[in-house]
Amino acid sequence: MEFNVPANRSTMSAVSQNTRSRLHIVDLVRRGWATTRGELGTMTGLSRSVVAQTVGEMVAEGLLVQAERDPIDARESDANRLRARGRPSAVLQVAARPGAVGAVELGHHHVAIAVGDLLSHVLFQEEKPFPVDTGAAPTFELVDAMLTSALRRLAMSREDLRAVTVSLPFPVVGGIVEPYGDVPGWRGVRPGDLLRLPAGTEVVTENDANMGAWGEYTHGPDHRAGTLAYFRIGDGLGSGLVIGGEVFGGAHGMTGEIGHVTVPGCSLPCRCGRIGCVDAVVTAATSESATTTDVHAAGDAVGTVLAQIASFLDPHVIVMGGALGVGSPEFLAAVTAAYHAHGVPNGRVAIRPARLGLSAERRGALDRATQVGWASHILPGIG
């Protein structure tokens, strides 16, 4: 079975308002963004009474637990105590629920897996170099072996996995891989079919830049952003957008293909079959024989593209991930210079490197699986 929750507006419209509120509340509480009823009201826009009623039901059903505020916290200062009149607000946490979730995170040259619990803890993670572009079948052989050994080490079985996210370095439309250019081993693949998982496990398939965006949104300082734009730079270039708390999918699910924007005057061949794509410039800068000039050329090209996107979307923040985005000061300097030279003069939109570094995609994929894992506890008729 495959379904897309909760970052998908079309399927979510079929779910009741109450269920949607519950999923939203679990997400906010487990990430620590809101731990009191008052904060939940502010963050969800629900009325005080609806929050009180929903939280009450969720506590009664064992989805949330509440603790009185830690006496030491409550005593913080006399001034605070005098100001905060009335009953201290109860602090909410998500309850420990059975089951685990998994992330399979693939790059062009590596395979990684992670296993977490429903409280958003990472229990295990591992990464191995692998030529992923050679095809889905050999890649998933390795995934299968890594997953088996991870679960054995955690004394778990595949039945424990409530949901698994597969994050791929290719465009994904409706759960099907649709790579650019000549990657025959992946075209038309449904990764959910290649994972040997029990029928009850939900599988979510996503593009890696979308998951990087989701990782930085859910783990970084910008969860109040209306729009967060993430660029995965290194081993190609991809982009992901989080808009209004959801991964944005566009009219046909092909967002974030910024790598195949043409760089004026560039004649490098790109893996997509054209010449002069910014993806090719970035790939050249990450190759083993790359020179400083290559890195500067990539920074210049990427900074110019970022300036265009900033003008168009006016995001709260632009986050740079990937090996070049987080690891190269020369690259960052070149990007910043080009961004300011080409940007709108008020230059308001900040650029920052990914807080999670190279694990943004993995953590985003794991959070996504955790969302879906919780949905199996909350949606009527599932789990």
Binding site: R9, Q17, T42, M43, G45, S47, R48, S49, V50, P171, E178, Y180, R224, A225, G226, T227, S239, L241, I243, G244, F248, G249, G250, A251, H252, G253, M254, T255, G256, E257, I258, G259, H260, V261, T262, P264, G265, C272, T304, V305, A307, Q308, I309, S311, F312, L313, D314, P315, H316, H342, V344, P345, N346, R348, V349
Partner: protein, 395 residues
């Protein structure tokens, strides 16, 4: 930025929309029935009804109850005046005001030409006067109008109702546009960016009625975009989304009023095209005066080439944007969209298809706006209807 800014609409606004929707479905109801019907708390319903009564959209009267004990229950219904709205479109050189019915069909429309950029006071006075004129010509009163929306040719910061502090339109920066118009008209006026309204107009009444995610391009004296995602206007975190006029075009050196070089709007605008086209038709007068009508211009191969070139410049910028947000359509509006017609549209399409990936462009349809220069005005009407709780009819 507070969390309230990030929510699509404020909690209070959402409550009001829920109450209005319920009243449209059920006519006259008790407050307690509104609580049951909307799922809002009693106090939220009370606040929403109070606000709607103050806005003149809802009326309350006490119901006679049999028992007579306690406070009489209040019946709530829609005010009879939700049948008319006003839309105001301020361009760089014109002010147009339309009075429409709830179906979006125009009743009265007036236009005056003046230098809007240079004279904010004159433009605001004109907009207010034309508003009163359409209302009196429509033989109604201001109290019969459920909502007024005005579009301005600059980016607007929603939280302050002012233009974003940019170097363009310097005489307008700092004015509270909603308050300025509101005090002149005597009613609260909603304000919006013109390209956003153009997108709304095409979404509800024009070429994008079948679309959920699309980009509207207003190409006239400047170039701006209105972005619709999930059938709602997307403005970005600072209200500057869609300001594509200052994206730099590779290898162009023209000086721009923003301090940059080679900005899109220094390469493509209706004024630049008129000057270029003048070389073809009236080589002696290269200032755009005395040009033939646009249907003649479009049919001339040399002029059509200039229009297509302009389209290709915009199209290359749009190609990058398509790669990132994968829209369903690009709708070309403004003077250039309307007057440039098919040659201009084809130029945009060629560049989008050349510079974006086939898998992206397969889903993007490049269209000319259907409302022919009235997209912004009709968007203002649609926004007024939405604000009044009447979902703009998609005809």
């Amino acid at each position: 930025m507070s969390i309230e800014d990030r929510l699509p609409v404020s909690r209070a606004t959402r409550s009001q929309h829920l109450v209005l929707g319920e009243l449209q479905k059920r006519g006259q109801v008790l407050r307690s029935e509104l609580v049951a019907g909307t799922g809002l708390s009693r106090s939220a319903v009370a606040d929403a009804v109070q606000a709607l009564v103050e806005r003149g959209l809802v009326v309350e009267h006490s119901a006679q109850s049999g028992s007579g004990r306690g406070r009489p229950a209040m019946q709530v219904s829609l005010a009879p005046n939700t049948r008319y709205v006003v839309g105001i479109d301020l361009g760089h050189s014109h002010v147009t005001v339309a009075l429409c019915g709830a179906d979006g069909i125009g009743i009265q429309e007036l236009t005056e030409h003046l230098d809007v950029d240079a004279s904010p006071t004159g433009a605001l006075d004109t907009a207010a006067r034309l508003t009163m004129d359409v209302i009196s010509r429509g033989e109604i009163t201001i109290d019969d109008v459920a909502g007024i929306t005005a579009g301005f040719p600059g980016p607007i910061r929603e939280s302050t109702h002012r233009l974003v502090e940019t170097s363009v339109l310097p005489r307008w920066v700092g004015l509270d546009l909603g308050a300025e118009l509101g005090s002149r008209i005597g009613r609260s006026v909603q304000i919006a960016n013109d390209a956003d309204l153009g997108a709304m107009g095409e979404l509800h009444y024009g070429a994008a009625r079948d679309q959920r995610d699309f980009i509207y391009v207003k190409a006239a004296h400047g170039v701006g975009a209105g972005i619709i995602l999930d059938r709602r206007v997307y403005r970005g975190d600072g209200g500057m989304a869609g300001e594509i006029g200052h994206i730099q075009i590779a290898e162009r050196e023209e000086y721009c009023r923003c301090g940059g070089r080679g900005c899109l709007e220094t390469v493509v605008s209706i004024d630049i095209l008129e000057r270029q086209i003048a070389y073809i038709f009236t080589p002696a007068v290269p200032d755009g005066s005395g040009l033939p009508p646009w249907h003649v211009i479009r049919a001339d191969p040399a002029a059509a080439r200039l229009l297509a070139d302009a389209g290709r410049v915009i199209g290359q910028v749009l190609a990058s944007i398509c790669q990132v947000i994968n829209p369903g359509a690009i709708v070309l509006g403004g003077h250039l969209g309307a007057l440039g017609g098919e040659p201009f549209r084809r130029g945009v399409e060629e560049a989008v298809f050349r510079y974006a990936q086939p898998s992206i462009t397969a889903g993007v349809s490049v269209r000319t706006a259907a409302l022919g220069g009235r997209s912004e005005l009709m968007g203002a009407v649609a926004m007024s209807l939405q604000e009044a709780g009447v979902e703009a009819a998609t005809q």
